[in-house]
Amino acid sequence: MTTQLLPDTDMRPAWPTRGRGEFRSFLAFARGRPGFLLGLVIVAITIFLAFFGPMVAPYPPERAIPGAGLLPPSAEHAMGTDVSGMDVFSRVISAPRIDLTIALSATVIAFVGGVFLGVVSGFYAGSRGIGRVASEAIMRGADIVQAFPVFIFALALVGFRGPGTENVIAALAFLNIPYFLRVTRGAVFQVRERPFVEAARCAGNTERGVAFAHVMPNALGPALANISPGIGFAILLSAALSFVGAGVPKPTPEWGSMISIGAPNMMTGQWWTALFPGLALGVTVLGYALVGDGIQDFMDPTKRR
C-alpha cells in the first residue's frame, strides 16, 4: 500500500457541531437562568431602541423646546429637560442608536482581532521559526499600544483621522484589542498543554488546524467574559471623547455626552439631566454582562445542565 498524500476532497465534518434542536436546547438552557433572561430582555430593548428609539420618542431628540430649559420630571417630560431645553427621556431612548453602533462594532472588531492575535501569539510562543517571530512581534505591539495613556491615544487617533463615528469606532477597537489579546493568550497557554491537543496532532491536524479548531474554542472563555466590560468601556470612552469634542458631534443623543453635559447641573440640584442617562448606561452594561456570562456557559457543554 502506498502512502497517499492528504486528500483534498470533502474535508467537512460529517458532524454538524451544532445541529437541529440547538435552538430548542438554547431555550431550555435560558429557562433555568433568570439572570440570563433579564439580560436578554435588556439587550432586546436596547436593540429595539437602536432601530426605533427616535420614532417612539415623544419629542424630537435633537431639537430644543424654547423656554423649557432644566424643567424637573413631570407628566409632559418624564425625565425632565436638559440645559438647552431638550427632552431627556426622548434623548435617553434615542441614544442606543449611536451608542450601540459604536460600542458593539468596536468591541466585536476588538474581540475578533484580539482573539485571533491572542491565539497566534499564545500558540506559537516558544516554538521555532516564523511562528515565534510573529508571536513576539504581536506582544511587543500590544505593549506599545498599552503603554500610552488610553485617552490621549484615542484623542490622537481621532485627531489624526478627524472626528466621526467610524473613526471613534476604529480608535476604540484598536485600543481594546490588547485586552482581548492578553486574556486569550493566557488561556491558550493553559489549553495548549492539555492532552487533547496532542491527540489533535495525532489525528493529523496541521499546526494551524490544532490552533484554530482545537485550542481556540477552548480558550474563548475569558475573551467572551471580557465582551461586556469591553462594551461598557467603549461607551464610557466614547462619552469622554464626545466631551472634549473628539467624538460624536454635539446634538446627537448619546448617553456619555449627556452625562458629561449634565454633570454640572447635578451640583446645582438638577439631578435628572445626568442621572437618567447614567442609569440607562448602567442598566445596559449590566444587561450585556448578564448575556455575556450566560453565553459563555452555553458555549461550554459541561455547564449546560
Partner: protein
C-alpha cells in the same frame, strides 16, 4: 504474521534543555523494534524516559539523535507534510481519559477527525466507520451526539480507543492507558485492548509504570531506568525470573491482593537520581544491592545472557546463577540509607 519489523528504533536520544547549559537526559540511547502484530511493553518509573520515547516515535516531540524506521521510512527527520500522511498508520491512546478528548466536540466528531483528515472517504462512509468502531469498543451510535463529560472514565477511555483505531492503524502507542482508572474498569480496558490487538492484528507499544498491567496484553517487555533499557525479554520469562536488579525490584514491589503472600525483600534503597546529573557508570549504582566498584566506572551494554534475554548489568550472570542455586527469593535488602 510475525517476523517483519514494523518499527525499528535505533540509538534514540532526547535531551531537554534545563537552563544554564544543562540538559535533562530523558532518553540516552535506546534501541528496540516491534514486529507486525506484536505488543511490546515499555515499563519504567517516572524519569525513566518511557513516555518521551513514545512521543518521539509519533514525533510529538523532536528526537535529539537516533533513527526511527516505521514502515521502512525514517520518521525521525521526516518533514511535517509527509508525517501527516503517515498519521493514520500510527495512533496514540492517552493516559487521561477525559482530558485527551476535546470537551467541546461531540463524540462523533472526535472519533471521525482522524479519518476525515487522513483518509479519502465520503462523509457517509466516515459515519459508517465511526459507528463501526464505536461498536467495537462496546459503545454505540447513541454516543455520537454526546459530549465527553457525559461519560464515565472507563467509557471515555473507550472513546479514546475508538479514535485510535478508527483509521485502521498498524501501530498504536498506549501511554499508561489504565493508570488513571479504578481497578474494576482497568481490567475491562485491558481485556478490550487485548481483543482488539488480536482481532485487528495491531502492534502496540504499551508504556506503563506498572509491570502487571502489561502482563496480559504484551508479548515482550523492555524495562527502562533513567533513559536506558536495562532488560528485554518475553513477558512470561520476565515474570518468571527477572534478571536485572531493577526489574527484580520493580516486580517485587507489586503488592498482590493476598495477605498471605510473602512480600519479597528485594527493595531498592534511596531515591531515583535526577536525570540532569546522571551517575557516570550504571544508573542504578547507589541503589543496587549487587553493585561493585566497576559498576560506577562504565555503563554496561545490553548482553544476551540467556536465550532471548538481554540484560544491561555486569553482575547479572553471576548473581542470578548464585540465586538459582540458593533457591532465591532475592537477597537481603540493602540497609536503609
Amino acid at each position: 504474521m510475525m517476523g517483519e519489523r514494523l518499527l525499528d528504533v535505533r540509538d534514540l536520544v532526547k535531551h531537554f534543555p534545563a537552563g544554564h547549559r544543562r540538559f535533562v537526559k530523558a532518553v540516552s540511547g535506546v534501541s528496540f523494534h516491534i514486529e507486525k502484530g506484536e505488543a511490546l511493553a515499555l515499563v519504567g518509573e517516572s524519569g525513566s524516559g518511557k513516555t518521551t520515547v513514545g512521543r518521539c516515535i509519533l514525533r510529538l516531540i523532536e528526537p535529539t539523535a537516533g533513527t526511527i524506521i516505521f514502515r521502512g521510512q525514517d520518521v525521525s527527520t521526516m518533514e511535517q507534510d509527509r508525517l501527516r500522511a503517515l498519521r493514520p498508520h500510527m495512533q496514540m491512546l492517552f493516559q487521561e481519559p477525559y482530558d485527551s478528548l476535546n470537551p467541546r466536540m461531540p463524540i462523533g466528531r472526535i472519533v471521525e477527525e482522524p479519518i476525515r483528515l487522513g483518509k479519502d472517504m465520503s462523509p457517509r462512509k466516515r459515519l459508517e466507520r465511526v459507528v463501526e468502531v464505536l461498536d467495537m469498543v462496546r459503545l454505540g451510535s447513541w454516543a455520537l451526539d454526546k459530549y465527553p463529560h457525559q461519560f464515565s472514565a472507563g467509557e471515555q477511555q473507550r472513546i479514546g480507543i475508538a479514535r485510535a483505531i478508527a483509521t485502521e492503524p498498524e501501530l498504536v502507542v498506549l501511554d499508561e492507558p489504565t493508570s488513571a482508572l479504578d481497578v474494576s474498569v482497568r481490567a475491562e480496558i485491558l481485556d478490550l485492548l487485548t481483543d482488539l490487538q488480536e482481532q485487528l492484528g495491531l502492534s502496540y507499544l504499551f508504556i506503563s509504570h506498572d509491570l502487571t498491567a502489561v502482563r496480559r496484553v504484551c508479548h515482550r517487555v523492555a524495562i527502562m531506568y533513567l533513559g536506558k533499557i536495562v532488560e528485554t525479554g518475553s513477558t512470561a520469562e520476565m515474570f518468571e525470573q527477572p534478571l536485572h536488579p531493577y526489574s527484580r525490584a520493580l516486580l517485587s514491589s507489586v503488592l498482590y491482593p493476598d495477605p498471605h503472600e510473602q512480600l519479597s525483600r528485594f527493595v531498592l534503597a534511596g531515591e531515583i537520581p535526577s536525570p540532569i546529573d546522571l551517575p557516570p557508570g550504571c544508573h542504578l549504582y547507589g541503589r543496587c544491592p549487587w553493585a561493585v566498584d566497576a559498576c560506577n566506572a562504565a555503563y554496561p551494554d545490553l548482553e544476551e545472557i540467556l536465550p532471548g534475554r538481554r540484560v544491561a548489568c555486569f553482575r547479572a550472570r553471576e548473581e542470578n546463577a548464585a540465586d538459582t542455586t540458593a533457591s532465591g527469593s532475592g537477597r537481603r535488602p540493602p540497609g536503609s540509607f
